[in-house]
């Protein structure tokens, strides 16, 4: 067991050569490659982390936007529902008003028709009653209806209060326009005389008496002096008839209001 000194130094040199060769060819390159890779992985990881954070931010923003959109949609839906409800109420109200108006128009029309009917009824029934009564009077009592009416009128004046009749003299209307006697028929001379005779004690001598024929009156005669009216007409009877008809109509059509 001995040491060969040449080999000994040669091995030292060999070893040192190997150290420097491997330092350049192996360790330097390998370590650099590993460091580079580590840096690359770190940067990639940081990049991935950054992208993940950005993605998270985007996702959060999207979530926020989505939530606000949903809230907006809900608000719009609520508003639309409210508007639809209001419109519905408005339309129902309007329809109800229209129905009421149509109903009211119908009532009005019905009222008018009833009024016209009653008017016609009064006229026709008056005429009919007049003709009938005249014929009856003529047939039974051998009297004319017109004369009977005049008689009735004269009797009415006669039975009036004398104080009232005295007032006729002071009546300013009498001074101005005279006495107007209206009748539904033309008075003949004898009838006019009867009336005049009855009135004479209560009116001035020069008082002017005029006679008018009114188609509006139904079988009657009247005189208006100083707020007092002296009149007789079968209108009163007809009014009673009309009232009965009207009552009958209300019973027949209960929904029809008294227009």
């Amino acid at each position: 067991m001995h040491i060969d000194w040449f080999v000994f130094f040669a091995q030292i040199v060999n070893f040192l050569i190997l150290v420097f060769a491997l330092k350049y060819l192996l360790y330097g390159r390998i370590v650099k490659a590993m460091d580079d890779r580590e840096a690359k992985i770190t940067s990639q990881f940081e990049e991935a982390q950054r992208i993940r954070e950005k993605a998270q931010e985007t996702a959060d923003a999207f979530e926020e936007k989505n939530r606000s959109l949903q809230e907006m949609a809900q608000d719009m839906l609520n508003n639309a529902s409210q508007e639809a409800e209001n419109t519905k109420k408005e339309l129902v109200e309007r329809a109800r008003e229209e129905v009421d108006q149509i109903q009211q128009r119908w009532y009005d029309t019905l009222g008018r028709e009833r009024k016209t009917f009653l008017e016609n009824l009064r006229k026709r029934s008056g005429t009919y009653v007049f003709d009938t009564v005249r014929r009856i009077l003529f047939d039974l009592a051998d009297q004319e209806l017109e004369q009977s009416i005049v008689n009735m009128f004269v009797r009415l004046i006669r039975e009036s209060d004398e104080e009232t009749l005295d007032l006729l003299k002071q009546s300013p209307a009498l001074q101005d326009a005279g006495i107007v006697i209206r009748s539904s028929f033309e008075l003949n001379t004898s009838q006019k005389s009867m009336i005049l005779m009855e009135l004479k004690p209560y009116i001035p001598a020069d008082a002017e008496i005029s006679y008018e024929t009114s188609t509006a009156m139904v079988a009657g005669i009247d005189m208006m002096v100083s707020g007092h009216k002296y009149s007789w007409s079968i209108s009163d009877y007809i009014a009673s008839l009309e009232e009965r008809f009207s009552h009958l109509l209300k019973e027949e059509i209960p929904s029809v209001k008294d227009a």
């Binding site: 150290v19 491997l22 060819l25 390998i30 650099k32």
Partner: protein
């Protein structure tokens, strides 16, 4: 064909060429072979080195080896392994490959020569003060030899020499004896048993390489850290 006969205890005794004092022995020849394998292998693998995630298998292997060595150095030195990687790494790779190639018939490990192990131990012997002085400065390093008193100086020197000697002889003894044991066993039981012994030899070879490199690192670390610890306490 065995180039080293049983009665030849060292490959230094096998001389191929000789001019005066220049002797090309089996030790030198196999050392150059190992150097060639290491250098060429490194060059072939690292000439197209890639820092991307996709690397070649050989590069991967070298990265695993280098990073393992770095981890071991860092574990012992608690320092940046870059300073010691070249020296310690080369020690481990040279001794390791030298021992592993024992599996090749006709090969004689240069580490089974006391000359080689002594040369490596001398390298470590000089590397220890070199690293210590580089890290701490010559005064601090030399002062360590006189701690705790100057009386300890010869003991420190003796310690340095003996541990270097131990380093050389341990590796030489293990590798040489393994060589001889295998040769004797081949004569006694030529079948099967030598295979097991070869496998064991590979393990022993790697363990010896590890021990050699780790001890070298421990010596260097003790030279660099003794002062650092003292400075740390002083602070």
């Amino acid at each position: 064909m065995e180039i080293l006969s049983l009665n030849q205890i060292s490959p230094d005794q096998v001389v191929f060429l000789q001019w005066g004092i220049i002797r090309i022995t089996a030790t030198l020849l196999y050392t150059w072979l190992i150097m060639a394998i290491l250098i060429l292998g490194s060059w072939l693998v690292t000439r197209n080195i890639s820092s991307s995630l996709h690397t070649t298998r050989w590069q991967n292997l070298l990265e695993v080896v280098v990073s393992t060595i770095r981890d071991q150095i860092k574990e012992i030195s608690h320092d940046d392994p870059g300073h010691y990687l070249s020296f310690i790494g080369t020690l481990f790779l040279f001794v390791g490959l030298s021992n592993l190639l024992l599996i090749v018939p006709g090969y004689v490990a240069p580490t089974s020569s006391l000359t080689t192990t002594a040369a490596l131990a001398i390298c470590v012997f000089f590397a220890v003060p070199l690293y210590g002085i580089t890290r701490q400065g010559i005064l601090h390093y030399v002062k360590e030899y006189f701690q705790p008193t100057f009386i300890f100086f010869p003991f420190h020197v003796m310690g340095e020499v003996t541990r270097t000697l131990a380093l050389a002889v341990r590796l030489f003894g293990n590798m040489m004896s393994h060589d001889k044991v295998i040769a004797i066993l081949l004569a006694v039981t030529p079948l099967f048993f030598p295979i097991v012994m070869h496998a064991l030899g590979l393990l022993i070879g790697l363990v010896q390489a590890y021990i050699f490199a780790i001890l070298a690192m421990v010596y260097i670390a003790s030279a660099t850290q003794a002062h650092e610890e003292k400075d740390g306490k002083g602070n």
